[in-house]
């Protein structure tokens, strides 16, 4: 069911909330709304009817109840770093900005968990518990700013998810406000029944607004070893990845950068790599000190067996940070060689990496575009970045076509539309290419069961519906 609210309904909601929360916490000012019209993807925008800033769970309940009474849709928003248009309010809905709900409510060291509000930044949790030797393991690249609520919505990953898992593996319980205003605690491994916390994690706000998250805390690894290997071909690097994984090693991270990125890094930051390097592979192993040197040296040996031109092993934390510079500055470096870039997020079976990268190159050539590849090689999660100039309408159109074709190849090779950025608005029509109608019908039935009013982040995740959204690549992206 989709909402058919009117301008009158939306005004009534905003007036009621302004009366209760105060004018400073409800805005419908055009300049304010522009800030909330898009997320990190900037691929599309939709101006909300208003933005509301709750400061307590009770206020979220009040906002949702008020929206429900007037049939006005709403969408929760954390830090706005999403990359699939998931936090956009379509149909003139209300954005519920959760960034003032940023308290860590409870840290329970003996039980290794913490209860936090959704607006808490991912990294803030780890910072708050590091003196106990603990951390919150999932680490999206935007972790300094992205909110835990947003992480739950998207089931976010990050470079270390190869070993540590994604958000759903670290969520022990949730508190959620359903579209009728009901506040429910859902668990969790400590009670029998359906695993609703896992179902809600990754549902992109389509079941309600999460107001508390109980996360698992993990011990900080005793030691870390990092190496970077340069290869003459991307195929060599891909085969090394497969051998490392199949060889019984479980690196914490296996990140790959291709020739375009290598060149950009050299040009932008003066980083130097061996002549002829077409691919860089960053390997990181962590865990107990015992056996750690052995583990990284096994991985390094495998890289050499696969023809690595050079392998650099960090000797201390400073050198480790220097090696990560290449990975972390990759997107910044691209900014120097292109006015804009559009990051794709697709997944393929790991063994298909060489074929996939060849196909991405062919697609780029056919559309006269340059593509840079920076990706989580260990789990087959690709992030091809299509470089372009947004002032060139023809080029923009070619970017959209190429992006679609890249996703189609992911699906053809047995992969997925998204490894970590989510479906949002960007890929919802593509869902019909990944799933059969019956698959989607079951998902739709679940959604209608959990949000019978159809008010929670409508038009996201699942294809169809009344609204057609015009897609097109826009400005510069940040990477997750």
């Amino acid at each position: 069911m989709e909402s058919m609210s009117t301008t009158h309904d939306r005004s009534a909601v905003l007036a009621a909330l302004t009366a209760r929360l105060g004018a400073e916490r409800v805005t419908s000012d055009v300049a304010d709304l522009l800030v909330y019209a898009s997320d990190g993807s900037t691929l599309h925008d939709a101006t909300p009817a208003g933005v509301v800033f709750p400061e307590s769970t009770a206020e979220v309940v009040d906002i949702v109840t008020t929206c429900a009474a007037h049939g006005v849709p709403f969408v929760a928003r954390g830090s706005g770093t999403g990359l699939s248009g998931g936090a956009m309010a379509l149909d003139g809905g209300i954005v519920v900005a959760l960034n003032r709900l940023r308290r860590i409510l409870d840290v329970d060291v003996p039980n290794r968990c913490a209860r936090v509000q959704p607006g808490v930044a991912n990294l803030a949790i780890s910072r708050a518990v590091e003196h106990h030797g603990l951390h919150y393991a999932p680490d999206p690249s935007s972790q300094a700013v992205c909110s835990i609520g947003g992480n739950v919505a998207h089931n976010s990953g990050g470079p270390h998810t190869l070993k540590n898992g994604v958000t759903v593996n670290h969520v022990l319980g949730l508190q959620i406000v359903l579209s009728d205003g009901t506040l429910v605690d859902v668990g969790g491994p400590e009670r029998p029944g359906y695993d609703l916390a896992a179902l809600i994690t990754g549902s992109e706000g389509t079941f309600g607004i999460v107001t508390e998250v109980t996360v698992k805390l993990s011990p900080l690894p005793e030691g870390v070893r990092t190496a970077i290997a340069a290869f003459a071909t991307i195929d060599d690097a891909s085969h090394a990845v497969t051998s490392v994984i199949a060889g019984g090693l479980m690196p914490a991270a296996l990140e790959m950068l291709d020739r375009v990125v290598v060149a950009a890094l050299e040009a932008a930051f003066g980083l130097t790599f061996p002549p002829g390097a077409a691919a860089l592979l960053l390997l990181e192993c962590d865990g107990p000190e015992d056996g750690l040197d052995d583990e990284i040296s096994r991985a390094v040996d495998i890289c050499r067996e696969h023809g690595a031109l050079e392998v650099r092993l960090a000797r201390d934390d400073n050198e480790r940070a220097a090696l990560w510079t290449a990975r972390k500055k990759a997107f910044g470096a691209l900014g120097r060689i292109a006015r804009n870039y559009c990051t794709q997020d697709g997944v393929i079976p790991r063994t298909k990496l060489p074929e996939m990268l060849r196909r991405v190159g062919e697609i780029a050539d056919r559309h006269r575009l340059r593509v840079a590849n920076v990706f989580h090689a260990g789990d087959g999660n690709l992030h091809p970045c299509i470089l372009f100039d947004d002032r060139d309408a023809d080029e923009r159109a070619r970017v959209v076509s190429a992006g679609r074709e890249i996703l189609d190849v992911c699906l053809e090779l047995g992969g997925s539309l998204s490894g970590e950025h989510g479906i949002g608005i960007e890929k919802r029509e593509a869902m019909a290419r990944m799933f059969a109608e019956d698959d989607l019908a079951v998902m739709r039935a679940l959604r209608e069961a959990l949000d019978p009013l159809g008010l929670c982040n409508p038009h996201k995740v699942l294809p169809g519906g009344s609204r057609c959204v015009e897609l097109g690549p826009g400005g510069k992206q940040v990477h997750a």
Binding site: N169, P189, D195, G248, P288
Partner: protein, 392 residues
């Protein structure tokens, strides 16, 4: 279709047709695997008009060793799956349910976690895709065959631990891990307080033992620590663990053959008090640090009724198993009541048939949401109404 016969579909289409016909005729369907019933047994179904066995739905559909993923049919025996994976030096943390006779679908319906839960995660963490037949006979595939995937709702994970009440699994895709080159197991007996303190200290170390379990049988309590990996890691870590145990006045023994002990810890509901003919096996659930006190309270109750009790605590997880040898209803009621005084507990095995409420305890606060999920995926209650939490 006649009540009393067991149907054995050979593929997902036949399975779907059976469910569709039953649903249309308002008959209920009970899907069984190899009926090893390890893990929370659930109350018996109120009525099962049609019994469907997955015993003909077996075998590997796809296995790409380099991708560390495998897709198998739901009726595949765990023993066969393990043997197949062993040939490729790969592994899946599946428990040794029913000595490997349990089916993949039966295992996941119950959702039993393995001994390696602390280090390797729960059973559901390894499920990356599934095809299931839901209440109206609709066949739905969720997620896929890649290890990282956020496309659409996670239907496969929802199916794990749902006791077959949301549909019948037809096939499942798992991610896999390379098989460990070596395994070591230490056991240290001692005074109970020393054992608990040592286990807590081990769990606080960033060493990643595969498991740190506490085993209590009669007056004997021991801490069992396992490491899996390769020699350069497991050997020094085993030494460090033994040293740490020694600081708690515990003398650790490195076991030459730990397969029996590991099997016991993997399926304590079946192995503890092995000779006891009538047994109440409980899964005690709750925050990890609260479990010991609850188990000790449970011991007092059992002893007040003159019943033997043994338990195994899977350190660092939310899960412990207690087995009480008793035939008396009074003891059973008192034990259940005690087990649920400060948290949840489910009945895995019982000397007598119990209602769903007795097996699962009272539903939690999110029960209304569970009912909505059930209604969405099984609108007419075709799959086993009355058997799961709150009669789901």
């Amino acid at each position: 279709m006649t009540a009393g016969t067991t149907l054995r579909p050979a593929d997902v289409d036949e399975l779907a047709a059976i469910v569709r016909d039953a649903d249309a005729a308002r008959r209920t369907v009970h899907v069984v695997g190899n009926e090893t019933h390890s893990g929370p047994a659930g109350a018996p179904p109120a009525r099962a008009d049609v019994v469907v066995s997955t015993s003909a739905l077996t075998g590997v559909i796809a296995h790409e060793p380099g991708d560390l993923t495998i897709t198998v049919r739901a009726g595949t025996r765990l023993r066969d799956l393990e043997a197949h994976l062993a040939r490729h030096a790969q592994w899946l943390p599946a428990p040794t349910l029913g000595h490997g006779e349990a089916s993949v679908g039966g295992w996941l319906a119950i959702g039993t976690d393995s001994l390696a839960t602390r280090s390797a995660g729960r059973a559901r963490d390894w499920v990356i895709g599934a095809t299931a037949v839901h209440g109206d006979g609709r066949v739905a595939r969720g997620r896929g065959r890649v290890v990282k995937n956020v496309a659409g709702y996670d239907l496969p994970r929802l199916m794990v631990g749902s006791l077959g009440t949301l549909g019948a699994l037809a096939d499942v895709t798992f991610r896999l891990a390379p098989r460990a080159e070596t395994s070591t197991t230490l056991q240290a007996h001692g005074e109970r307080d020393d054992v608990h303190a040592a286990a807590r200290a081990l769990l606080a170390m960033p060493w990643a033992p595969t498991f740190v379990d506490v085993l209590a049988q009669g007056t004997v309590t021991s801490c069992v620590v396992g490491f899996d990996g390769w020699p350069a890691r497991t050997e020094p870590l085993t030494r460090r663990a033994a040293d740490l145990l020694a600081t708690h006045d515990l003398n650790a023994t490195l076991l030459d053959d730990a397969s029996e002990l590991r099997a016991c810890l993997d399926a304590p509901d079946r192995r503890l008090l092995g000779a006891a003919p009538a047994r109440l096996a409980l899964q005690v659930l709750g925050p990890p640090a609260t479990l010991v006190a609850r188990l000790v309270d449970l011991e007092h109750v059992a002893r007040e009724h003159g019943a033997d009790i043994a338990w195994a605590l899977r350190g660092g997880t939310s899960n412990a198993t207690a087995v009480i040898a008793s035939t008396g209803r009074a003891c059973l009621d008192a034990a259940l009541s005690e087990a649920r005084r400060a948290g949840a507990a489910t009945v895995i095995a019982s000397p007598e048939r119990l209602s769903a409420d007795a097996v699962w305890g009272r539903p939690s606060a999110d029960f209304a949401l569970m009912q909505r999920v059930k209604a969405a995926l099984d609108p007419r209650g075709t799959f086993l109404p009355g058997r799961f939490v709150g009669g789901l």
